[in-house]
């Protein structure tokens, strides 16, 4: 904590309203620095002990034109007195640099009647009449929708502190937010110093001046907008990352020494992070010529006894399909991180979807049992990479770790992990192989077998994707093929039997059970909690293991009148008599013969707790009508 009492310190002002949480957006044209301001605000809030979830609003084009709907660039920060696990519902407060960039957000349902919008008003007096007219129309539209618009001369006010308000106003806005949310200005100055320090003290000073100017401006013009969000008590040490950085840290934590990839959104930023950092653990990133080569390179390295992973998204996985089959067939340990995006095909490359579950499990021709996990939080992005590596080597197979664009780009604090040497891959075993021991000496009880590594004397064998005996000899006879298939399948059962029963969130019995997987965890549990708080008998369970699925789900489901999944992938609307259901629902039905329904959307957006809550009430109502 900064010791000096600042002239602007919150203590000097009379009572801000205490609120449990708020969701703020800064929306601008690309290049106006909204994201930087929001990131600093998020980091500050986290350091002050709030739960925080920030997510960037990224335009589809690289340099979109100014004042365009598709060009909206910005950031959403949700922060509160508890842990924040998702981007939340409609925003409470919006800072907007023009009215055009709001349309896309409105279409995404980001605002509700009552949302306060602080809107730059210089457009009202713009020399170009079209702009003027657009602004007037926009204003009318915003008001019509019930938003509380406050027009403000932001750039004008910045002029007191900078000659180039277009570039400087982001720090001005940061200052405003510091007033509104009762943030410690000293902390803001420290953050600015951290971010701009490299650019020299003049830059820092200019930005600090803007910050303080914004603070003063808000204090004098927005006296009614003044809140306090209490901190979380007794927090263990935290790190703040997005999901892809957490994946990168997990790769390092697992001691994976080779990341073999081909760029693809939204997976690539994990590799960017690793390209900068993996040398810290002596690893390397290989950018291959395509996805097939990327997985092939990783498979080669793994065959040679080195831990390797590949990181990709949907179209990349499609190309890796054949090699995935080889890894399963020849029992090469391999971790594949799949950061899902909107599909099918090129689909919505930057948007959120959980649409690759079935193709991850079933996408490989023939019977190719593999392990499929899904991270539910940013923290799990870290830990499950480590788990995945252990599973891959123990079970000598392909492990797919699913995440999605929601986790990949969300930024949130999580408990700093206590590092463990056992997480790391063990050093290369070059001791002589036991003479005569087969390269696939399958334990008939588990399907597991030890693995010879090139360099191990007497371990020589030829890996093949053809059907083979335990000696890895090509074999076309019925028994060998059947035995190999069985052993590969048995490994999944061995793992399944060792898995803990999933934990129910809420009461163990009730009317409605929600089953989820992946990044929807936070939103689902928040919705469940809200409904439960109002007396609805709903609980949820969230799966990390999708293949194999942990035992015990049968009993859990039996405790509820209805079971449904909540997912971000396609299902037919309820108006259709014969519906194609969401992907986990299909899996649960098949495994458990339970009439699992699904609620899902493919809007390229995370599901908000509010949307889920509404759906849960609808289902509960239907159930009670049914009962009546």
């Amino acid at each position: 904590m900064n010791e000096q009492a600042s002239p602007f310190s919150p203590a000097q002002h009379a009572g801000p309203t205490v609120i449990p949480e708020h969701t703020v957006e800064i929306v601008s044209d690309s290049g106006e620095g909204a994201q930087k301001a929001g990131q600093i605000f998020g980091a500050m809030s986290a350091k002050m002990g709030n739960g925080v979830w920030t997510v960037e609003i990224i335009p589809a084009e690289i340099k979109p034109p100014a004042r365009s709907k598709a060009g909206a660039s910005g950031i959403r920060i949700r922060f509160g007195e508890k842990q924040i696990t998702n981007m939340g519902d409609e925003a409470d407060l919006v800072l907007a640099f023009n009215e055009q960039v709001l349309y896309g957000r409105i279409a995404n349902g980001a605002y509700r009647p009552g949302t306060v919008i602080l809107l730059e008003n210089k457009w009202a007096s713009h020399p170009d009449d079209t702009v003027k007219a657009q602004y007037a129309a926009g204003l009318a539209e915003l008001n019509k929708r019930g938003f509380v618009v406050r027009e403000m001369a932001l750039e004008q006010a910045c002029l007191a502190h900078t000659s180039n308000p277009r570039v400087g106003k982001n720090m001005f806005v940061l200052g405003m937010l510091c007033w509104i949310y009762d943030r410690d200005l000293a902390r803001a100055r420290a953050e600015i110093n951290g971010v701009f320090g490299r650019k020299g003290s003049a830059v820092v000073a200019r930005n600090v001046e803007l910050l303080e100017g914004g603070y003063q401006f808000a204090r004098s013009t927005l006296t009614d907008l003044h809140y306090h969000v209490p901190p979380r008590p007794n927090l263990p040490p935290q790190v703040v990352t997005n999901g892809n950085e957490a994946i990168g840290l997990g790769v390092m934590g697992a001691g994976i020494e080779l990341v073999s990839m081909y760029p693809i959104t939204p997976a690539t930023s994990a590799s960017h992070y690793l390209a900068r950092e993996i040398e810290r653990i002596g690893g390397v990133v290989h950018q291959a010529e395509d996805e097939i080569a990327a997985i092939g390179f990783a498979v080669g390295a793994s065959y040679a006894g080195k831990t390797a992973c590949t990181i990709t998204s949907g179209p990349g996985m499609a190309l890796k399909t054949e090699f995935m089959g080889l890894a399963v067939m020849s029992e090469v340990p391999l971790v594949m991180v799949l950061v899902q995006r909107g599909g099918p095909s090129t689909g919505l490359p930057t948007k959120v979807e959980q649409g690759d579950l079935l193709s991850a499990i079933y996408g490989t021709p023939g019977d190719a049992p593999k392990i499929v996990l899904a991270a539910a939080t940013i923290e799990e992005c870290f830990h499950l990479v480590i788990t995945a590596r252990q599973l891959a080597e123990t079970f000598r197979t392909l492990v797919i770790l699913l995440t999605d664009a929601n986790l990949a780009t969300g930024v949130s604090p999580w408990d700093r992990p206590t590092l463990q040497a056992e997480w790391m891959a063990p050093p290369l075993d070059q001791a002589p192989w036991k003479k005569g021991l087969a390269p696939y000496a399958w334990d008939p009880a588990t399907g597991l077998s030890p693995r010879p590594i090139p360099g191990q004397r007497d371990g020589m064998y030829v890996l093949t994707g053809l059907a083979h005996t335990e000696r890895s000899k090509v074999a076309y006879d019925p028994e060998s093929n059947e035995l190999g298939c069985q052993m590969r399948s048995l490994k999944l059962e061995t793992l399944r039997q060792g898995l803990a029963k999933p934990v129910v969130h809420g009461d163990p019995t009730g009317d409605l059970l929600v089953v989820g997987w992946g990044s929807t965890l936070g939103a689902i549990e928040e919705a469940v909690d809200r409904v439960r708080a109002k007396g609805g008998k709903v609980s949820s369970v969230h799966l990390r293991f999708l293949s194999p699925m942990a035992p015990g789900l049968d009993e859990i489901m039996a405790g509820f009148r209805q079971v449904m999944t909540v997912e971000i992938n396609y299902s037919d609307p309820h108006t259709m008599a014969h519906r194609r259901l969401a992907q986990l629902a299909q899996l649960l039905r098949m495994e458990h013969l339970v009439d699992v329904d699904s609620y899902s959307q493919v809007q390229g957006q995370p599901l908000s707790p509010g949307k889920i809550e509404a759906e849960l009430w609808k289902r509960l109502k239907a159930l009670s009508e049914e009962a009546a």
Binding site: G255, S302, P427
Partner: protein, 317 residues
């Protein structure tokens, strides 16, 4: 191998490997298939170099030729059609000490694997790549390959292949960071062996195109060269593939060629009146990709943990 010392003793290695140590299962290629000779040449080199079999990895794709690893007594990887090169590169990436032989067919390398071919050349990792060029898809029973001569009747072009054949040597010489390109023929074991030995000794990716007879499906494609051995142009140079005197009678046509002369190499590769055998091009100064990918190999677990801790620090609140 065993040099007599001053005191008339020899230093015997702890382990001495015989030819049999490099033999895997019985080679199941057709009788007369050129693949047999290539296998023998590689096994001889391994024996002559006394490579511990566990330090050798042979990698292949799918095809008759790609059965190669199964017949070696070393580690082997018989992977996917067209994907030998990425796998081999992955093997080398963090195990640069392993000796890697790659067996790939004209379909495997030049058709489905063509993209990897370009890039493997550019990576220039230390391995010996043998292109078994029989001008046909053997394993799948006689379909046109990129190197099939125009007009060859195959099961996919029963009225004759439509296009002029791709010239793998010429193409390779156009890629970037190419460091070793040679040609030879399966039917001269002496030159075959000498060429592969030279390739093995090269530090970097050595690409050797071997004309390989497939008596079953393309028994006539090399007739020209076989019936008129003068069409074989033996390249001679002090830095080239050593030319055994035994070749004098067999392949009388000779040409001096400096393997550092890329222009001349390309011109030789393009000739269709003769087929040049020997070393066309070599440049040991090309960067090798494993020199980048091997970085950090020696780091201890403690160092790694400290590194990770520092990485976490950057995100700490």
């Amino acid at each position: 191998m065993f040099g007599l010392k001053r005191d008339w003793t020899v230093t015997l290695p702890e382990r001495y490997f015989t030819f049999e140590d490099y033999e895997g299962g019985e080679a199941r290629w057709c009788p007369g298939c050129g693949d047999h000779a290539i296998l023998t040449a590689v096994q001889r080199i391994c024996r002559d170099e006394q490579l511990p079999p566990e330090q050798v990895v042979s990698v292949s794709g799918i095809g008759c030729s790609s059965r190669f690893p199964h017949y070696m007594g070393t580690y082997g990887f018989h992977g996917l059609h067209g994907r030998a090169l990425p796998v081999a590169a992955g093997v080398k990436a963090r195990r640069p000490e392993l000796k890697v032989w790659v067996a790939t067919g004209d379909g495997d390398c030049c058709s489905i694997g063509a993209g990897h071919w370009i890039h493997a050349i550019r990576y220039n990792m230390d391995m010996t790549v043998m292109l078994f060029d029989n001008a046909i898809y053997g394993l799948t029973k006689k379909q046109t390959s990129p190197t099939s001569p125009k007009g060859l009747s195959t099961n996919t072009h029963p009225r004759g292949a439509w296009l002029p054949p791709l010239n793998p040597t010429q193409a390779t010489l156009g890629f970037t960071n190419v460091s070793f390109v040679a040609q030879t023929v399966d039917w001269n074991p002496v030159h075959l062996h000498a060429t592969l030995k030279k390739a093995y000794e090269h530090k970097g990716l050595s690409f050797v195109r071997i004309l390989q007879r497939c008596p079953t499906y393309t028994d006539k494609v090399f007739d020209d060269l076989q019936s008129d051995p003068r069409k074989i142009l033996v390249l001679e140079h002090e830095r080239g593939v050593p030319v055994d005197p035994a070749l004098d009678r067999v392949f009388p046509t000779r040409q001096a060629h400096d393997p550092s002369d890329m222009g001349a190499a390309r011109a030789l590769a393009a000739r269709d009146d003769v087929f040049a055998i020997g070393l066309l091009f070599q440049d040991e100064s090309c960067p090798r990709y494993e020199d980048f990918t091997r970085r950090g190999l020696d780091m201890s677990v403690d160092d790694k943990l400290a590194g990770l801790d520092a990485a976490l620090d950057r995100f700490a609140l």
